[in-house]
């Protein structure tokens, strides 16, 4: 019996102790006609680890490495070997939420360090122990802003059109159940940015918050100072959505405008988490100290034990569902502990200069790639705004068709903007520190062939 240790003798001894004859007797409180509704024939016969591993290895092989320039919210980065060799140690991998603090100081201290790292990276006061991912994190931030903005009575939030459309849609799917509306601020078609001009029409209206994405979905860098100041001047909180790698180079949200953003969320995947088909990643979430009691999710505090020794513990639990139930800040319980642990190790290994260097290479490589591609006939940059490590290009042909042809050559040449923005000929491309000059040239050569 895979993973079940009991021998026939064990079973007899246990049944004897219970005073039952057969295991089946233990289910005698279940109405008989409900039982055995199926013999589970849709399931295959059990197989050993060897066979299942071989099957899965064959399937993994099917999806094997193609040369990829896909970004759109998940990015290829070098992951130091130490990150997952340590994160998958049984002590981290097979522990649960640190309910018994004395027997969980390892996990608790990791989270406290993680909170500190995220707060420092974002320039904020405090951070929680992670939420599911960047997109659902945005939904939590929107709901949090509604609670935190005491001046506003609105259930509306302003969201830029240039926000990652997958964030927009997941956020909407979550918050609309509480009748929260997300109103869209269009982007400037020339710059690929969200201009304060386009916000003027919302002046005087009651919105709880403005969402600012830096960079935005197009890779463009927004004028975050102006946007932040505008929002604050109009009684809104600012929710920043940021790429954590970029923060090694860019102004952290805590320093945006004159007062800084109020809530920061983002996708943690670039911090040491493999692409892995989209998960498990983790969403990070930080805020100003004054909003901490509105923040959802686990929060770890440093305290002392009864001998005065430093220790770490779950705190502010009165916000959480297991204590507050229907009055909780969120229903979140299990979050993304292991991914967050890996990210903590990653951030410690990469360090401030290392992260800046990674971000620098991402930026420089993407610039180089864009330069090489736009040297091809008919390929040009779609927007004028400066970019971080992603850029939109116009092709002389239908984007979906071109991408499909590139995929046949095992090159994943970017994401089409056709469906999300109606830009039929536009692709979003990304390069990071993992791409060599040779990789870029392979892409360009393939593109040239496809366009020819």
């Amino acid at each position: 019996m895979p993973y079940i240790p009991h021998t026939p003798d064990d079973v007899s001894a246990m049944l004897d102790a219970i005073g039952a004859e057969r295991i089946e007797d233990l289910f005698d409180e279940i109405p008989a006609h409900l039982k055995a509704g199926s013999s589970l024939d849709a399931l295959p016969e059990g197989r050993g680890e060897m066979e299942v591993t071989r099957l899965m290895a064959e399937r993994a092989e099917q999806d094997r490495y193609a040369l990829s320039f896909l970004g759109g919210g998940a990015y290829q980065h070098h992951i130091p070997a130490a990150v997952w060799e340590i994160a998958t140690r049984g002590e981290f991998y097979t522990a649960y939420t640190p309910y018994q603090a004395e027997a969980s100081q390892g996990t608790l201290q990791v989270i406290y360090e993680y909170q500190t790292l995220i707060a420092r990276l974002t320039g904020m006061d405090v951070a929680n122990a992670s939420v599911y991912d960047g997109a659902s994190g945005l939904a939590e931030a929107v709901l949090m802003a509604l609670r935190a903005n005491r001046k506003s009575k609105s259930n509306r939030v302003l969201v830029p059109e240039a926000l990652n459309p997958r964030y927009r849609s997941a956020c909407d799917a979550i918050v609309r159940n509480q009748d929260v509306a997300l109103d869209t601020v269009p982007f400037c078609g020339q710059a690929g940015q969200t201009l304060t001009d386009s916000l003027s029409k919302y002046e005087g209206e009651d919105y709880a918050a403005l969402v600012i994405s830096q960079p935005n979905y197009f890779g463009s860098l927004e004028d975050v100072d102006a946007l932040t100041n505008w929002a604050h001047a109009n009684g809104m909180l600012v929710i920043a959505v940021v790429n954590p790698t970029s923060l090694a180079l860019l102004t952290p949200p805590g320093e945006w405008g004159s007062e800084g953003a109020d809530i920061v969320v983002g996708e943690g995947q670039p911090l040491g988490i493999p692409l892995s088909s989209g998960g498990p990643y983790f969403g990070f979430m930080a805020c100003k100290q004054k909003h901490v009691r509105q923040m959802p999710g686990r929060i770890i505090g440093r305290t002392v034990d009864l001998e005065g020794k430093q220790g770490f513990t779950l705190t502010l639990q009165a916000r959480e569902q297991h204590i507050r139930r229907s009055k909780a800040t969120s229903n979140i319980c299990t979050n993304q502990g292991l991914a967050m642990t890996a990210a903590t190790i990653y951030m410690s290994l990469i360090g401030p200069d290392g992260l800046a260097s990674v971000a620098g290479h991402c930026h420089a490589n993407t610039q180089k790639l864009a330069d090489k591609l736009t040297a091809l006939d008919g390929v040009e940059r779609a927007f004028t705004a400066p970019t971080f490590h992603e850029v939109v290009l116009f092709l002389p042909q239908d984007a979906d068709t071109v991408l499909a042809k590139l995929a046949e050559k095992d090159i994943l040449g970017g994401l089409s903007l056709a469906k999300d923005y109606g830009m039929q000929n536009a692709i979003l491309v990304n390069a990071t520190e993992v791409h060599t000059e040779g990789d870029l040239d392979l892409f360009v050569a393939a593109m040239k062939e496809v366009l020819a």
Partner: protein
């Protein structure tokens, strides 16, 4: 031994510099306006690779874990997490796949998802499954949002309430509120079953649905489940099954057959994926026929003709409640669950419910024999059971929390404490099917010893633990003098 914080190892200019590329020149960053550039380095620690490896290796040793201890945390199903599942999910081909890679470059991954969807449908008796939710609570959210979408689609808009038994997990009421519902609690009787009369009175045209766990958090199977289902359905509400305790009945009775309309499963419980110190989990949802149109996307589909797998997304299922995350859920967790399901197979699934129930009933009986009090002594245990220490608290001034802390000194993880709230001084204990009789006997011996200590040397119990990295912590100070980030 107090472990320094990683920041306390930091020295300006130190680095693990096999890990970062060489710096780029300022020139290469000239396209980024100076006004958008960070003025100061972010305060990440500046440490060597050995510093990092040693620090986190040492920190890890300050955890209890399934790989080291018996971990009978009730309602958490801390069963063995197969190492083979980890290896399979970490295969380079799976790790390198971008979530937005085209279907042509995703057939292997999609095949795993498609199979897993079908397995989960079969074991739960539901008509459709989506793997998208990233945790149990998000699965609950998806479930209640589907209930809402169902009523909305029928323009049945007076349904503003979700009914929840008072023993429910806190996520249930919190989820109902996140979906815009009011919560009405339903009392539970002395035998652990729902008070059916009270339920009948609570039901009405305002009832959107009922959320419940079965076996309940009282550790017993809800015997009136059919009557409950009929009551709620008759009132026009739907039934939500919280899959936290699915382990107890896997292969024995299926939520779909009990009359539930929508369920979530916790793969990090029932399907043995790791708990990771607090996640990631995965909370797939299954639905009955009438909720099929609302399942969250994306799901894996199969074109029978071409034999190719594809994504079912909002363009093909526009009635869906939509995406709950940027991509498609916790893929790596799903792969681990798929591995587990494949190893167990049909017979293995059936054994899960049987042996987890056998273990719990054995442990309960033996703990009663050594002197503990069952909360529901007339009932069969499911895969877990509740002890109440009300008597000990009153007579010996030793609480459930004291016993929990003292267990740590015996190298046993504590059970869940003070949940469900309706049982005073309770311990909720779940051994799972993967622990040997010997491991349970060691736990029983520790519990017996502690009861003896409580009577002869209560301070030993009340001041425990003594052997852990820290003694009991000052939680009041933690909440009053918030210290959530470190500063020099």
């Amino acid at each position: 031994n107090e472990t320094k914080l990683i920041f306390q190892h930091s020295r300006p200019g130190r680095s693990a510099n096999a890990q970062a590329p060489k710096p780029v020149s300022e020139d290469q960053l000239s396209a980024i306006p100076a006004s958008l550039r960070r003025k100061q380095k972010p305060g990440l620690p500046e440490v060597s690779e050995l510093d990092v490896v040693r620090h986190y290796t040492n920190l890890s040793s300050k955890n209890f874990a399934i790989d080291k201890q018996f971990y009978p945390l009730g309602s958490c199903t801390m069963k063995y997490n197969p190492r083979g599942a980890n290896r399979a999910a970490m295969l380079p081909g799976f790790l390198a796949r971008h979530p937005l890679a085209p279907a042509s470059h995703s057939q292997g991954y999609l095949a795993c998802l498609y199979d897993l969807q079908n397995f989960l449908k079969e074991v739960t008796g539901m008509k459709g499954v989506s793997l998208a939710p990233m945790a149990g609570a998000q699965g609950e959210f998806a479930g209640v949002a589907m209930i809402r979408a169902y009523h909305d689609a029928r323009n049945d808009d007076g349904r503003t309430e979700i009914l929840i038994p008072e023993a429910a997990h806190g996520t249930n009421p919190a989820t109902a509120v996140m979906c815009g519902y009011k919560v009405r609690e339903v009392p539970v009787g002395k035998d652990g079953d729902v008070d059916l009369e009270a339920l009948k009175q609570a039901c009405g045209p305002q009832t959107a649905g009922l959320m419940m766990t079965n076996p309940s958090t009282c550790g017993v199977f809800e015997r009136q489940i059919e009557a409950i289902a009929k009551t709620v359905h008759d009132a026009g509400g739907l039934l939500y099954y919280d899959g936290a305790n699915l382990n107890a009945i896997l292969g024995k009775v299926r939520p779909g057959d009990m009359g539930f309309d929508v369920i979530h499963m916790n793969l990090h419980k029932t399907f043995a994926t790791p708990h990771g110190g607090g996640g990631p989990g995965a909370g797939p949802v299954g639905v009955s026929q009438r909720l099929l149109p609302y399942l969250p996307t994306p799901m894996a589909g199969l074109d029978e003709e071409s034999g190719e797998y594809n994504w079912i997304d909002t363009d093909t299922l526009p009635t869906s409640i939509g995406h709950l995350s940027a991509f498609m859920g916790n893929a790596g967790v799903l792969l681990r669950a798929y591995f587990y399901a494949m190893v167990l197979g049909r017979e293995g699934m059936i054994r899960v419910g049987e042996y987890s129930t056998l273990a719990a009933n054995y442990l309960l009986k033996r703990l009663q024999q050594v002197g503990y009090t069952a909360a529901y002594p007339e009932r069969r245990a499911s895969h877990e059971f509740i002890l109440t220490l009300a008597k000990e608290a009153k007579e010996l001034n030793v609480t459930a929390m004291d016993v929990a802390k003292r267990l740590l000194d015996y190298n046993q993880h504590a059970p869940t404490t003070y949940f469900p709230l309706l049982v005073p001084e309770c311990l909720l204990i779940e051994p799972t099917e993967t622990e040997s009789k010997e491991a349970m006997d060691d736990f029983i011996a520790a519990m017996e010893a502690i009861l003896h200590e409580a009577k002869t040397d209560p301070d030993m119990v009340k001041e425990a633990p003594f052997t852990q990295p820290v003694r009991r912590l000052d939680d009041v100070k933690a909440a009053r003098e918030l210290d959530l980030t470190w500063s020099e």
